[in-house]
């Protein structure tokens, strides 16, 4: 325990922000930045992919389906390697590990978010689409004003658990030298050499504290949403439908 406190005293700042302000930002700050940036960019892409997936036009449905299936069908680490070699070739210039990781996360997460959003859209009663179209609203107007606001609201807890997955996935950035939390911990471990258990216990504790508090938040949100739905959306007996399980792996 004293070892852990000593490590935190000597290297706590490195874990939090890397060499900043004397060097590049790193550690937990980069982990969080990657997670937030990844999910924030993946979200609009995921919505677009979801709309493509449910489109009745094959030119939209096919590419979206292929992207979703491929991204969901390969391990993330393989995807990272692939992007690592592909991006510099595609763009014709060197690409940093951080950018590579961000792009990878965005595409990978978008595929998962697309399926979440698709389930949210398809889970709404058909009458919502019919009622809106009967009023003369176009398909896209209906999506924007009627379907997506309801679907996304219902999906907030699931999206939050997707965010939690993203946080854990950023640790794989280590393999292409992204200066994030796991990378910082490993740096400390190679400096100290004799305290791997302590160093990696600290690492695990930080990830756990972050993810677990978010899981609690997702639970809380979920409860709020089902309570709200019971009060507002009584027409389909939504109050009695079982709550979706939060899965955070």
């Amino acid at each position: 325990m004293t070892d852990i406190l000593a490590i935190l005293r000597d290297y706590g700042l490195l874990l939090l922000v890397g060499q900043f302000p004397n060097g590049p930002m790193g550690g937990l700050a980069i982990t969080i930045a990657l997670s937030i940036g990844g999910i924030a960019l993946a979200f609009p892409l995921g919505v677009v992919l979801a709309l493509g997936r449910i489109s009745r036009f094959a030119v939209l449905a096919w590419p979206a389906t292929v992207v979703v299936y491929v991204a969901r069908g390969v391990p993330l680490i393989m995807f990272i390697f692939w992007m690592y070699y592909f991006l510099p070739v595609a763009t014709g210039r060197p690409v940093s590990g951080l950018t590579t990781m961000l792009v990878t996360l965005v595409v990978y997460q978008a595929a998962y978010i697309a399926e979440i959003v698709r389930a949210g859209i398809e889970g709404l009663p058909r009458g919502q689409m019919e009622a809106s179209r009967s009023l003369g609203m176009s398909y896209l107007q209906t999506m924007r004003k009627v379907i997506l606001p309801q679907a996304l609201y219902n999906m907030v807890p699931t999206l939050l658990s997707q965010f939690i997955s993203t946080i854990k996935e950023t640790s794989l950035g280590y393999v292409i030298g992204v200066n994030e939390l796991t990378f910082a911990a490993n740096q400390i471990n190679t400096t100290l050499l004799t305290k791997p258990f302590q160093v990696f216990a600290i690492l695990a504790a930080i990830y756990f504290a972050l993810c677990f508090s978010l899981t609690l938040m997702a639970r809380q949100l979920e409860r709020r949403i089902s309570a709200r739905r019971a009060g507002l959306g009584s027409q389909s007996g939504a109050a009695t439908t079982p709550r979706p399980q939060i899965i955070t792996e």
Binding site: A131, S132, R133, S134, G136, M137, Y153, G231, L232, Q235
Partner: protein, 251 residues
């Protein structure tokens, strides 16, 4: 009734056929609705009543025949479907209010987005319509806070907000508790009195007797019998209609 027999035709079905796979849902429907007419469609469940009414605003496609609204073939490819639908009010059995919007926002959504009305005018008109259905005090409530009867009245106001020349009702009272049926029928009656063209699928035979100009009786995808309510209820000419009415009155 304000309906005059010489009024011009508004909706015409000509040899309309629809299949679900092998199932013949609509068979050779030929009929018409004149301006200001109130048509009640009745018949046993599965007879194609709802399917028929849903073809009028193209919630269902047809495979053969034509449907004209105000002279225009509505199932033609060149039809601007969104513009066309904005001219027909549709009221569903299950209300289908938008649960994430307040009552007033439910009503103003289409006027704002489809008709591009100015916000102030749309809200003012929305309040007028809510007042008409007796729910002005619920403007800021959410649909989930209303009873079924109130929700259906809001749904009618939402359809009316587009100033449609015709309204379609697909079993508007079937999902309601008995004590709420009256308030919805009241609103529909007042619409009929004001000369609205209406097609109603309903099991409310008193409503048909009181308000309808004509009754269409459907069975197995066909219109088996049409007539004035007096003729249909007093002296049904087909055995199937006779049986249907006998079954109804035995309940």
């Amino acid at each position: 009734m304000t309906h005059a027999p010489s009024a011009p035709t508004l909706i015409t079905f000509e040899g309309v056929n629809k299949w679900y796979g092998n199932y013949h849902a609509l068979a050779d429907i030929t009929a018409s609705v004149t301006k200001g007419e109130v048509v009640v469609i009745c018949g046993p469940s599965g007879s194609g009543k709802s399917t028929l009414i849903r073809t009028v605003n193209r919630l269902e496609e047809i495979q053969k025949g034509s449907i004209r609204f105000d002279g225009k073939d509505i199932h033609s490819r060149s039809m601007d479907i969104n513009k066309f639908r904005s001219h027909i009010g549709f009221v569903f059995q299950s209300f289908n209010l938008f649960p994430h919007l307040t009552v007033l926002d439910n009503i103003t959504l289409a006027p704002l987005n489809v008709l591009r009305r100015d916000r102030h005018a749309a809200r003012e008109r929305g309040m007028e319509l809510l007042d008409r259905v007796g729910l002005a005090s619920k403007a800021e409530a959410y649909p989930g806070q209303l009873s079924g009867g109130q929700q259906q009245r809001v749904a009618i106001a939402r359809a009316l907000a587009m100033d449609p020349p015709a309204m379609l009702f697909d079993e508007p009272t079937s999902a309601l508790d008995p004590e709420m049926v009256g308030e919805v029928l009241q609103v529909m009656k007042s619409l009929a009195r004001d000369g609205m063209s209406m097609m109603c699928v309903t099991h409310e035979m008193n409503f048909a007797r009181e308000v309808a100009d004509s009754v269409w009786f459907m069975d197995e995808g066909r219109i088996v019998e049409t007539g004035t309510p007096e003729a249909f209820f007093g002296n049904p000419s087909t055995p199937r209609a006779q049986k249907f009415l006998a079954d109804l009155s035995s309940h």
